[in-house]
């Protein structure tokens, strides 16, 4: 026959009561924190949980970066759009001016508007976003197009010229990671976008105003060039105007449109990246939640059960310990 001693009785009752109380405590902790895993030892999946937590934090930070990059590229899209419109207008003027029925004086009257267009184009090339020159590449603290002067004339808008500074950093693209694997290039050097536009506008405006631009046919103007001698050089002026039209065509076909296409492509890539990150994040969150979050209904039900068990052990303990043989002898 099994003996039951007083100590044994008390020990068992107390151990069971404490065990029930500990369980109640664990469950109420889970319910108040909402987490069933808050320490590595709470689950064998601790390593996975840490991995998903890192993944979500990483996706969040990439998400911020992507939205900043998107607004930067959208800004550039606007700039290139404006530049295209300027070129369309400039080409209209050039075609009108190329007509040899126009006198040199009438051509000179058209010059004024082209100067405006040229300055506008230069300011687009030198546009800044959040205090940085967009097309400055890595050299974004000074404008990519410097304002210089011609030897002839010495005054008036025809003396101004804009020249690409060609500093080393301008050619360096800015890029950054939008996911662990994909980096996106954020900008194009100014001369690759605006080079022909500015040169064309400058040649056109000078030609209309009555000045040659050297070198005569191609290449970046070097700041020299005398006035046409009319009427002898009237056809040279016409040829220069036609040359400008070629440059506008080049600007549109080789520089502005490809840049716009490329911007659109990069924006789409960012959007795809963003969508992909969202997808990664939501699936990671789902897995993490399954691994780490407490199922509140289940915990609440278990809590109820634990409470009942604890009450039962209290009542059993009190009843059993109150019983003694002394009441009967």
């Amino acid at each position: 026959m099994r003996r039951v001693s007083e100590n044994q009785n008390v020990r068992q009752l107390v151990t069971n009561t404490l065990e029930n109380k500990r369980r109640l405590n664990d469950l109420s902790n889970q319910l108040t924190t909402g987490l069933k895993v808050s320490k590595p030892s709470d689950s064998v999946d601790a390593g996975s949980i840490a991995r998903y937590q890192t993944l979500i934090a990483k996706v969040d930070s990439y998400g911020v970066a992507i939205s900043q990059a998107k607004s930067f590229l959208e800004y550039q899209d606007g700039v290139v759009g404006q530049a295209t419109e300027i070129i369309v207008r400039a080409k209209e003027i050039a075609q009108q001016a190329a007509n040899e029925t126009l006198s040199a004086e009438s051509r000179a009257q058209l010059a004024e508007e082209v100067y405006q267009l040229r300055d506008q184009m230069a300011s687009l090339a030198n546009s800044s976003y959040q205090g940085r020159y967009v097309y400055g590449g890595a050299d974004d603290d000074d404008p990519p197009y410097d304002k210089l002067t011609y030897d002839n004339p010495a005054s008036g808008p025809a003396k101004d010229r804009y020249s690409f500074d060609g500093e080393l950093g301008t050619a360096v693209g800015k890029s950054f990671k939008i996911t662990d694997e994909i980096s996106v290039n954020l900008n194009t050097p100014a001369n690759n976008v605006f080079g022909s536009s500015i040169e064309g506008l400058e040649r056109l405006s000078r030609a209309l105003a009555g000045y040659k631009t050297l070198p005569a046919t191609s290449g970046t103007p070097d700041g020299t060039g005398d006035a046409y001698v009319f009427p002898g050089e009237y056809h040279v002026q016409t040829a220069d105007i036609r040359g400008a039209i070629d440059l506008f065509n080049k600007a549109r076909d080789v520089e502005l449109i490809p840049e716009r296409v490329s911007l659109g492509g990069r924006l789409r890539r960012l959007e795809t990246g963003q969508a992909l990150l969202e997808l990664t994040k939501s699936s990671a969150k789902e897995v993490l939640s399954r691994l780490q979050d407490a199922d509140e209904t289940e915990v609440a039900a278990n809590l109820q059960q634990a409470q009942t068990a604890l009450q039962a052990s209290y009542s059993v303990t009190a009843k059993v310990l109150r019983m003694t043989i002394l009441d009967y002898v």
Binding site: S38, P40, V44, Q53, G136, D141, L168, G169, Q292
Partner: protein
């Protein structure tokens, strides 16, 4: 005529005496119902043999007599209780301390962990690519860098402090072991003296069992009871802690005689102590190293040593010790060392003039200044950091500083936002370093580092993967260590409780049983008293005849 009346009286008296003795024993049992370690006792009752046969043929019996007093105990139950007690002692310590250090790797998101700090740092470096000359973005790199350094510091320090605390606790445990073994030895001698006269010394034996139980919670040992009642206690390697009436006190020392040279440092830069038995010349004793035997055993001392680690006297680094805390600290230290070498190397950029021997950084900060050898992550040290002078940080450079744990000395290599070298030479072929303010290629190279697999190696740790992967695997490791310690603790607690219940079932006092016995003894006493009256009536009858 034979005098049966005298026999009647004699037997009755012997009955009354014996029942009284039994009642007295029951009263002692009842009084000690709550005494810890008390073993209930029983008195053997024997019938007394008639010395002579009456009329040469009849042996009625000479009444009853008291036999020996017995402790109701079971050596097997006692020793299994001690074995489980040792297991519980070890599991309890490991569970307690691992529970503390696992908070370093918390998953609740409520506190800054090294994993989160790593993530934030690399993210902030990547953001610099968006606008490298932006001071706000650079400031964020500086702050996240500080956060990373601080979280590494505090994680490492927590581990090192815990190791130091365990080392101190080891000393306290050894002190109490010495007190226990001394008391056991002196009880051994008392028990032998008392029992030499043939009487049992039950109270002393109870006392000794309690002490053996306490000792077993601290250290595992084997016992051997020798015929004179003494108990010898042996460690697992046969070293006698208690041998008859002699106890062998253990010592904790940081200058053992078996060390050939300077001792290896601990995680915090101190020295881990050794548990020894000292013998030989007083003042300059020889030390017998018992640390590893204790570590391989059970009990709280084994738990402490398994966490804290044992440093072989020939080791030179804290990370060569074999403790669980050391394992975790190695992972943090491995991250630190790779930040100091691989990440710093990337930060310098490719060699500016690959022809010459010294590495010229091709990266530069906002002011055009190139970073130092330890430009991104640095450490506090007064001597030469780039010992080989080749301009590149390497593990060999770190080794030659003589510093063991760099995690304690890690700091950021720059202190102002503009000093973060985000750009790299845009024209490496030109002679001079040309770095523009808006260039973020160096920052991008560092950000890429996050997804690059590297080799991490410190002490016995060898891991290939990214920083994140190392951190995540550390979370798994600490989680499984703690979970297994907790599991062991739960099991040990349950088994201890079961073993205690078994022991109580066998040896502890049951009031029900005692009171039933009291009634039984009382009735027997009353019956013997009644027999005396019967004898008296017999005599009265005889006297009435006269």
């Amino acid at each position: 005529m034979v005098n049966f009346t005298a026999k009647l009286l004699g037997n009755s008296v012997s009955g009354m005496t014996v029942q009284q003795a039994l009642l007295a024993n029951a009263s002692n049992n009842i009084a000690n119902v709550n005494t810890p370690g008390y073993t209930r006792r029983e008195i053997d009752v024997l019938s007394r043999v008639d010395p002579v046969a009456i009329d040469g043929i009849l042996r009625i019996g000479g009444g009853v007599q008291l036999g020996d007093i017995r402790r109701i105990t079971n050596a097997f139950l006692e020793s299994s209780l001690r074995t489980i007690g040792s297991k519980q002692g070890k599991a309890e310590v490991r569970n307690e301390y691992l529970g503390r250090v696992e908070n370093i790797f918390s998953l609740s998101g409520a506190q800054q962990t090294v994993g989160m700090a790593l993530n934030d740092f690399f993210s902030s470096v990547n953001q610099v690519g968006l606008n490298p000359s932006d001071l706000d973005l650079r400031l964020s790199v500086l702050q996240r860098g500080e956060d990373l350094v601080n979280s590494i510091h505090s994680a490492y320090q927590e581990l090192a402090d815990t190791q130091t605390e365990l080392d101190q606790r080891l000393g306290q445990e050894i002190d109490s072991i010495n007190v226990l073994t001394r008391d056991i030895a002196s009880l051994n001698s008392t028990i032998a003296q008392r029992e030499a006269t043939g009487t049992l010394a039950p109270d002393e034996r109870d006392q000794r069992d309690i002490l053996l139980g306490k000792l077993s919670a601290k250290v595992s040992f084997k016992t051997l009871e020798i015929p004179n009642g003494m108990i010898n206690c042996y460690l697992d390697n046969g070293f006698p802690l208690v041998s008859e009436a002699t106890a062998r006190p253990l010592t904790v020392t940081t200058a053992p005689s078996f060390a050939p040279g300077p001792l290896p440092p601990s995680l915090g830069g101190g020295i881990l102590s050794y548990v020894t038995y000292d013998y030989g010349v007083a003042g300059a004793p020889t030390h017998l190293d018992l640390t590893q035997t204790l570590q391989n055993g059970e009990g709280s001392v084994a738990g402490i040593l398994q966490l804290r680690g044992y440093a072989d006297v020939n080791n030179t680094s804290a990370f060569e010790a074999n403790g669980e805390l050391v394992q975790m600290a190695s992972r943090i230290e491995a991250m630190t060392r790779n930040l100091l070498t691989a990440v710093n190397q990337e930060y310098l950029g490719p060699d500016e003039d690959s022809g010459t021997g010294v590495h010229e950084p091709s990266s530069a900060d906002l002011n055009g200044n190139p970073p130092g050898v330890f430009g991104l992550f640095d450490f506090t040290f007064s001597g030469a950091k780039d010992a080989d002078g080749n301009g590149l940080p390497s593990m060999a450079d770190l080794a030659s500083t003589g510093i063991d744990s760099f995690s304690r000395f890690l700091k950021l290599g720059f202190s102002r936002a503009d000093e973060f070298a985000a750009g790299r030479d845009v024209n490496p072929t030109a002679g001079a370093r040309m770095v523009t303010a808006g260039d973020g290629s160096n920052a991008q190279a560092i950000a890429n580092f996050r997804t690059q697999s590297q080799n991490f190696s410190v002490g016995s740790l060898s891991f290939t993967g990214t920083f994140d992967e190392l951190y995540n695997s550390s979370v798994s490791t600490v989680g499984s260590l703690k979970a297994s310690a907790q599991g062991e603790y739960e099991v040990a607690r349950q088994s201890y409780s079961v073993a205690s219940v078994k022991r109580d079932e066998f040896s502890s006092v049951s009031l029900d049983e005692e009171f039933a016995n009291v009634i039984k003894f009382q009735k027997a006493f009353q019956a013997s008293a009644k027999m005396i009256r019967t004898a008296s009536e017999l005599i009265d009858t005889i006297v009435g005849l006269i």
